[in-house]
Amino acid sequence: MDLLIQIIFGLLVALIIGAAMMVVTVRNVIHAALWLIASFFAVAALYLVLEAEFIAIVQVLVYVGAISILILFAIMLTRSSEGERLLTQHWWAAALISLGLFGAVLLPTLVGHTWNIPLPSGAPGTPETLSGVEEIGRGFVNEFVIHFEVAGILLTVALIGAIVIAFEERSRRRRVLTLSEEHILRQRQQATAERVSAVADAVD
């Protein structure tokens, strides 16, 4: 059983890291987004290995089902020009920072630290406690009620903000008149012109 889990874990890690590497290095943005989706999926599988069913499903639902779709949409709507440089001028600096962070800071800290693992022999919690939606739900309305409300407000604000930012003002958008609208418009203009000329005549 352990071996099986280790193999699965190894595969998943390979997929997560490999896909993430492809995301940052591949030239085509669409391909990058697709690799990103693969990475998300592998992370969801990792959550399953970690026995966090609910988070895994939410990961699939939100990341794969919504965010990646949003990204794909954005890419298609913006049509980024291909053939140009993939990375910024100072990409080597970024690479240095990342590598340094990983190799010098994160890895030694994480691996070297002795975590306070309470019961290394087995899982203490029952499955209900582990991935219980009910517990999370209760948590949302009891312990984390403030966080929950804040998240709600954040979502609302983000929704409105996204709409406001992406919304094209009606005046800026070229409105195509239909035939009947154009016709009525012309008639009205004509009527106005006639009225004006009639008034002018009357004045004369």
């Binding site: 085509n28 697709l34 639902l61 794969v64 794909l72 991935s131 219980g132 939606v133 609208e181």
Partner: protein, 443 residues
Amino acid sequence: MQDVVNQVINTSFGWGWPSWAIALIGYLIVAAILFGIAPFQMLFLTLYERRAIARMQDRIGPNRVGPEGAFQPLADGVKIFTKEDIVPAAADQWVHFIAPCVVVAPTMFMFAVLPWGPGMVPVDMNLGLLFFFAISSVSAVGLMMAGWASSNKFALVGAMRAVAQMVSYEIPAVLSLLAIVMVTGSLSIVELINYQGGLFISTRDVASVPDWGLGWFIFSPVGFLAFIAFFIAALAEGERTPFDIPEADSEIVAGYMTEYSGMKFGLFYLAQYVLNFLLCAITSIIFFGGWQGPGVGWLYAQAITPANLQGDWIFNVLAGVLGVFYFLLKTYGFFFVMVWIRGAYARLRIDQLMDFGWKFLIPLTLVNIFSAAIWVGLTKWGAADGLAFVEGWSPLMRWAVAFAVTLILNLGAYLFLARIFAQSQDERTRQDDEVLEQLTNVA
């Protein structure tokens, strides 16, 4: 399944295999069975749809290959297998290749949590319902890939439409299910089915009701409105008429499938029909009790279950057969409704579709969630939850009051929203006058 495998390998043969091997074998067997069933469903449904819609159009439909055309899907399958696989020169080869797989795989995943009969569920997941819908949203990625990789305008437009439609109709679908989940208090599909025993009234609401397996959610106002909203959303998710805009052949030839041929095209079809089957199945499970029906509950009570180890295996078989029969009957019934709707209606326009989803269905489902809250409060809560006045009522009385209140609420909401929506539709044509006014003033 694992019990059976364990029985065979460890008890009968005495090989003493470890539990994870047993689990693996059990899951593999179930997966193999499901992979056998899924394409079969697609084959059957294509024939079923063609025959049914032909009848609606005073025709006979395919009846040449085999008895009553039974082998027509096989013939079509052979034809599609042997067709040349054409990939456009400008296409992104790999993405073009992978897209059908990405579309098909989630539909296969969705079988994992589908209960076929009493005790016949591949994985009794605690979060089955959520899993079902989370996975179904993945195929949108595949559609996007297909549309983009074809490097064809029609395909791209079709894919964008498909994805926009899927994403926006997931919301009313999930919201309408939320009402049901509120009533049952569980996301497990098996639990959802168990809830629906009874006769017109669920046994969980009023315990004294005889359990005929007919306490379906459709019989409550909350469930009925949720059913309407969910079924409409399911039509949109499954890209069925009147929401088959992504593949509107009169506008954008075949949508994202335009540049596909041969077996890849077949895979898209497979995904679509399997998804339709699954949507029909989940509709029948959530609102029509799945395998619940007269007799199944009684038979299953006599069978060998974790709760009742002294049962007789023959009852397992009987309950299973009857349950699967009820389940498939309902599922194919819903597919008939889908075909029926396809036979009767024209297709909406993409903006009308979005309007309908966002301005009509979502408010309706929100009202329904409110109704569900009232329902739960009136039938389940007591003084401890702050509803002391319902304490004295009998369960039937509580049910009746809840029924009446939610019925009035839902009906009123429906009529009101329908009126508002119709008016807004009328205003869409009249709004032009407003714009004209503005334009006249500008000019």
